[in-house]
Chain length 149, copies 12
């Protein structure tokens, strides 16, 4: 069993209502249901946290690290462009981190300032970016435990 | 009758006290009185929201869009420089948006990252930038309704 | 009563025929009628001057300043990109200056070299950019007279 | 029969006298004779217009478009570097446009600001650049008529 | 059943022997065995092609597209930096494309010129980048078939 | 007696736990004890405020300025990279400001956007950066009082 | 009679199947037929060589120069972006060279690294770019022979 | 006796009225009187030509070169920033050319695009820049005649 | 007791006479007196060396390192902009180094090429920058001795 | 005895025939004779490999490394500009590598992307660059053996 | 009578022997004789100082300012490129300063870092640049005395 | 017999003591002994000159050129970064010049401003860079004499 935190960055609360030509029509609530089902199927614990305030995301990540969460999956979304403080936070906590984006940010000319501190990055695959992100995290944690055991 | 939200971005709370050579001596309270009078004269509903936290501005804008506000006028102020998440928010909601600045930001070498998603931009005219911003919004909404009717 | 000059820069003669997806279908003649009506309604004197030659615009502005025109509204249009001589002219004459553009030049990646010497800038609002530009000029002149009186 | 305008931009009046290591020794008059002979041989109508003033080139192009000229061939010459207003003019009129340069502007480190709005560009081939430019225009017009017929 | 091509770009033949601090100690042969096993487990057909010559990769991709391969997974590896011709090839063929990298290329300051034309991109997860890449391709193809059926 | 505010910017809450090769092993609590002892020894009043939210730092600074705090010492930390709104806030309030960083930000290639509005800047000296920052502030205030007296 | 080599660079084998909105629907085979007919009509010898491998293009050009080919026409296509070795090859052989592109590469923001070593460049005219390229080469060779004779 | 043309570029007609903190209070007419007196004292012929239109300056320079003027002194003024066509004109005519500016353009961050084709450049010395410019031209012409004689 | 060298870089000899709006009116002699008093009060040995020649500063620093000086405080002053050889010298000797500037160099747009090799940097505090620089050096040396003891 | 591979990059096959003002008149065959004589004189084994295809160079280098070649000398020539895949290959194999160029590439404004991974670089000395390159390789191998022995 | 210092920067000692295609064949000694004759003819005192060491030039300028020299003429020569310390020196002393260069530094792509602090700049006129520089200085001093008297 | 000068630029006096991970442990004295032995073995005259002052290096080079030295070998060391005056000196004297660096400056991101004026450049080979530099100079001088004889 794995204990993961998924952070949904700025504007993800509006998913499904926002630029559907980029993000599709799945709403935030539907995405949560889908991902919780995926977590349940794997016997994992998954908490999902939405915020539009960068510092709140950081507060949540520090709290998770203290509370024993094992891995962080995050779509930095609106924080992607200038989330330098968030990037410093990710360096400060020792949590494994997989970054996901629904769209191909390279094609859209967006550079993620947090990607450089990620263990893995997955983008362009819509809702599947999240599903693969959770899978990647499980694998990361399995490998680390294995090498430690 | 038009229903508008005016967002006053970072540091606008300090208006009148702050760099009067740039921003004059009208205080935030005096500006609010002036703009509410203008709204009342036109039979409009105007809510004014001040915040120093970018994510709070976004939360307020999402709430306004849900609550039937028809148009957004905003002085991004301190968010002008790096408000990328705010810009994504403005793209995500479908509200008509007019951006205003009291000073000539071009002359001061400031580039607004939110201006590109505005319907109209007005700057350099001090308190009048707001008054013209409200006028522009009324006209925008009238045109859209007209073309829809 | 206010005495204003409106300069229409390069290619504005072709308005209404030119890239209607950007500039709409109002022709130059229709725009002039609309703005003269607006001026008449406010008891103002408005002269409108079209030219494709930057130096002619400058000659006209110098002549206007000598002839007692009180304020300049201009859409630099084709001169927006490289009108450095025009910018120097605007600095040289002491006329209040409001710059207008029909389209959102920031969104189109166009930087105005004359904007930095304007008292105010209004863009993105189509024909309304002109109407608001005249209103801004009236207000500017009223304020200056008031503070001098 | 095809009705074409050839615009010779800034400094082309001096052809044959100017930097012969770049432009050869054919004079403007000799070039005109050569190109009129080529036009006559194809049964075309060709007007050639020289100017050192960018706005005059624009005025001439607008007039040609109104007068039924079917295609524009132009060597922007001195306007190549900063002819942004001219570029906007070319976008505004709907004329097919072939741009020609006598020299290899890429080798000389010159970037043409008007090339991006051309249907075709031919450079580096001296006087033949013009002859090929007229041929390209005939072909363009033939294709468009054919596809419309 | 899915029919996929995996292209291993320049220097991947040396995997396991090359910079193990970046790429680990799994050899190319071991990786192939692992991925073929994964393909077999899903009932898929997977061909793996190694080359150090960019044009050979392109030839192989064109041939695959003609031969009915349904999806392309590729680690451009040494072609990542300047594989512009390869990028044009990917645009030219209509194959779904998932790009994978074993390392976090963002952290290493490497920009992939092919990433912008990918449907999805996965990097930083070592050998798992490939496994997830195949999974992503299966999902992509399932979605497209589903939406077509 | 001097009344000072010390703001600890984003991620400083994690001090001692975070990247000890950069920041050492002194925790935030130990640092506070040390600095309060230093303040007490000088007979000063010192308030220390930690936040991960840029706008909260601004709110706190505005409140301090209203409440009679005489000087601000701040480690912008995570706000260093893009704290433009915070910089505007520092310009808006008239408080003397000394900026401190524990590490040599120049060596790490970090540029502080707030440093340009500081009265003094001290970096690279670990915990001593704070001690010297308080000393610098005392001196600044003594000089200003002296010159005013 | 003229003896020419036409090199079709990377991805041109896919012509007619590839991005028809840019390149039209004429296939490589149809283009060859058209150009061979044009060569035959002028009594010329024309060899057409397709390759996706830059070094093969260079090998072919060196061989052609040794075998008495008089002129090179080339669409560098996929080699346009980074074909520096190819550019050095063109400098090394003394063959007259005309570069052609079917599309307006300036409009698409593509810079050709080989254009600077061409005698002439023609782009934007689709299949006609090739026809005009052969014409330009005939003219170039005629002029050189004439000046030598 | 020397026969010289002095071209006064864009906005110089306004001299003495324009930004006196930069250009002093000498008017254009007073400057002309001073320079004609200087010419007369040296037995030279001096024509002074003012224009705000770049192409007119070029026309005048071509005419002067045909009419036997021996040297050109010019303050490009408003043409300094983007006078590329004027620069090409200066290269095309063979006239000795001395460029003058009243102010220190380096200090003001202005780069002259015409300076690179000048024989000599003098700036920063107000009205004396012109007087020294005429002296430099006399010396240039004397040297050239001397070396030819 | 601590043995320190203070190097005063280019133009510091002119202190108090030079740009007093930046550097105040304290002369070099007065500053020396003040700092020697400070050193004496702490029982330290302090040598102060002024030079306008970068290589002389380096010679002095190498000599000091050989003669047992324990720490270097330096205001690189005129060497700040391009003192690359000096920077290499600082890397070559193992002396602890604290860099000081009287003014806020960040605000003046000056980048120090030597700052990256400093243990600590203090700027903007006028004469106090030196006093704090000596204090920082004492602390640095105490810490290093302590950790070694 | 030393076993070395010399790779001659793109266009070196044409040596002596190509741009003799840069590369002299020694042909590839003459150079090979000269270098083999030098190798023989030192009792070394030297293989020389020419290719215009970057991937073939890489294939040859991987093969050499497997076959016991001890050191690589290479003139990347046409691969100098964009040979990123080749650079990665050089990092991947553990062979000592000395890079040579006949001309002063710094003077010609050429940056070698492979130079950063070389043990030594020698350029500007024509044919002697190769002779010194072999000497450098012998010395490198002697030192390494010596330190290992 | 005027008391002037002429500083000849790095490499000017070699004048006449150095790159005569740029600097002519007049030697340093011949230039000195010519300029002293010019000074004598005007009843001025002129000292000429050559140095290859930037700091020595600064020492000499500080000494001159103390000794009552009224004006500085300088050809920074080799110090032109990176003489930042020299530039600071020129700002620090209050001497009028005219900068001269024998060649057109703009054409050669050289930017003078000291030019921005000059009262006047003269370049491109060979030995006459010095003669005009002295004349400019005399005029500057005359004007200042006149305005003070 | 050959007469050579070796200049050791800034900080080379500290060789063997300075950053041994880059420069090894051979001291300046040991290096001199080694190189003088090498010179003696070839019957050459070699003078070695160390300086930290750029202008002194220039003075020495001018003196050497006057005194009949035939060739210059130099490690500009600390002058590598900004030795523009030194570069001009190297252009001014006609001495053959070979530049050497002990380390791979390309790998360290250092650009030599003097390299462009060298006949040959050798770097990355530690002490052997000097030995090869002397060999290269001997060869250069032999070739030049040979071609003159």
């Amino acid at each position: 069993m794995v204990n993961m935190l998924l952070v949904q960055g700025a504007n993800m609360n509006h998913l499904g209502l926002r630029e559907p030509e980029h993000y599709g029509t799945t709403t935030a609530a539907e995405l949560d249901t889908l991902l919780q089902a995926d977590a349940k199927a794997h016997g994992d614990r998954l908490e999902i946290f939405y915020t539009n305030i960068e510092g709140e995301a950081m507060n949540r990540i520090y709290a998770a690290a203290s509370a024993g969460v094992q891995g962080l999956v995050m779509n930095p979304a609106g924080f992607t462009h200038a989330g330098y403080a968030l990037r410093d936070c990710l360096k400060a906590v020792a949590l494994p981190y997989v970054e996901v984006h629904m769209t191909n940010i390279e094609r859209r000319g967006i550079r993620s300032v947090t990607a450089e501190v990620a263990d893995g990055v997955i983008f362009g695959l819509g809702v599947q970016s999240y599903v693969l992100g959770l899978a990647a995290m499980r694998q990361l944690l399995a490998t680390r435990c294995g090498s430690a055991g």
